[in-house]
Assembly symmetry: C2
Homo-oligomer: 286 residues x 2
Amino acid sequence: MIKQLTIIGVGLIGGSLARALKRAGAVDEVVGAGRDAQHLQQALSLGVVDRIETDLAVAVQGADIVVVATPVGATETVFRSIAPGLSADTILTDVGSTKASVVAAAQAAFGQLPENFVPAHPIAGTEKSGVEASFAELFEGRRIILTPTENSAPQAITRVRAMWEQTGAKVVETGVEHHDDVLAATSHLPHLLAFSLVDTLAQLDAKQEVFEYAAGGFRDFTRIASSDPEVWHDICLHNSSALLKMLERFEADLDKLRQAITDNDSDYLLQVFRRAKAARDQFCGD
Amino acid sequence: MIKQLTIIGVGLIGGSLARALKRAGAVDEVVGAGRDAQHLQQALSLGVVDRIETDLAVAVQGADIVVVATPVGATETVFRSIAPGLSADTILTDVGSTKASVVAAAQAAFGQLPENFVPAHPIAGTEKSGVEASFAELFEGRRIILTPTENSAPQAITRVRAMWEQTGAKVVETGVEHHDDVLAATSHLPHLLAFSLVDTLAQLDAKQEVFEYAAGGFRDFTRIASSDPEVWHDICLHNSSALLKMLERFEADLDKLRQAITDNDSDYLLQVFRRAKAARDQFCGD
């Protein structure tokens, strides 16, 4: 049982974690913290948190576990703000989509990697954002990736793992760099492509018609372009080296397809499309 | 009322059209035609068509309306095959995703553009294919784009329009070239990008893990990569000039985003992402 859980940044992820743990009866008190009092008040009204606090150092006092759930660009500032309020026993974790940058932020803010610090990333979310979009079932059956540092204490890892298991998620562990490479491929690059395509189309003269004639496939393909621009801006800049590596690979492959279309190279096109369909059908199912 | 409707190519689109018209009581007899007798037999067993025929010239005999619903690469061959069986009264239409190529196929096969020929394209579909995936509601509320040629007779356009309205679709008319430009942007390019991305990821060493860690956003984004490779191969090659034009524009914009990430140009990234989200939220809603 968690006596006091402090969540800094009560949005889609932070709010859903609070709801899931409350539903599971796994937490006594959830403290919602952040800079925006009005936003916190909304979380309180919705019953997502039990108490709110805009002074982050105060918010973490007495907490068993502190979860930083702000956009990753704010992580270092948040770590610096909470440092005075953390006790030696407090477990510290986060939900950031980029892990190397979060580890670097901890190193910078605390001067070392705390034993009780366990970086984490729930592979869950929707294109919606804000506490009003949060729901208790968000993490059910989803993966939570822990990327413990060399300093993370086994009991801290166990606590963070146990917390996430209460949400119905499956918890796995991997290395920081590997996490960032895999997520660049499956999440960061697709978001970049979706934002980029929609923006390209929005610049066309026939913009209105283009979107009117867009069928279901286009809606699915571009849904992630409705995600929070600031969150994804942060992610792209905080995982830039892995993202650029994947982007370059993608652009090289896309160039080959462009050349094949230019050359009317039927075989190449068919080969790529068949391989892609087979891979997606095999791994994604629906 | 359509006395005899002949559908050449009874897959997702052809099959769904047959089902929708039967449900509306708008057709007496549907003849399913194609090369593959086993496939036609399945359509017959499912009750999607009333009679089947592998000789295309025979299949169109006595038809009020003939709908060509094969992949666009087969259109010219099909037109040549049915030519001997068409009467002066038979209305001819198609469902191809590329219209300039279909018009060129008609010109080549018939030596001129027939008065009773009305090119059409239903903006509907799923990533599934085959008659077993067809359903009567596929076209409800969707747009059907007619691109009449300069030879298309008004009464032929009226018949094709009326047929599609019976499926619950909204029928609009536009020019061939404009259709191909708009569809390159909203459909052909997204499919190409989805196939390309999934194939790039499928070549990674961490392939298995990459797909395992892919969340809901990735599934939506890549769903169209499960589409029929042959159909999309045909579309890319038969609308290559419009597609290449859009692809080049997209690649140029993506290069700018890559440069912005390289330069840590926060403002540019945020501006593009915000503009994209605003456009998608405005036009697509969900």
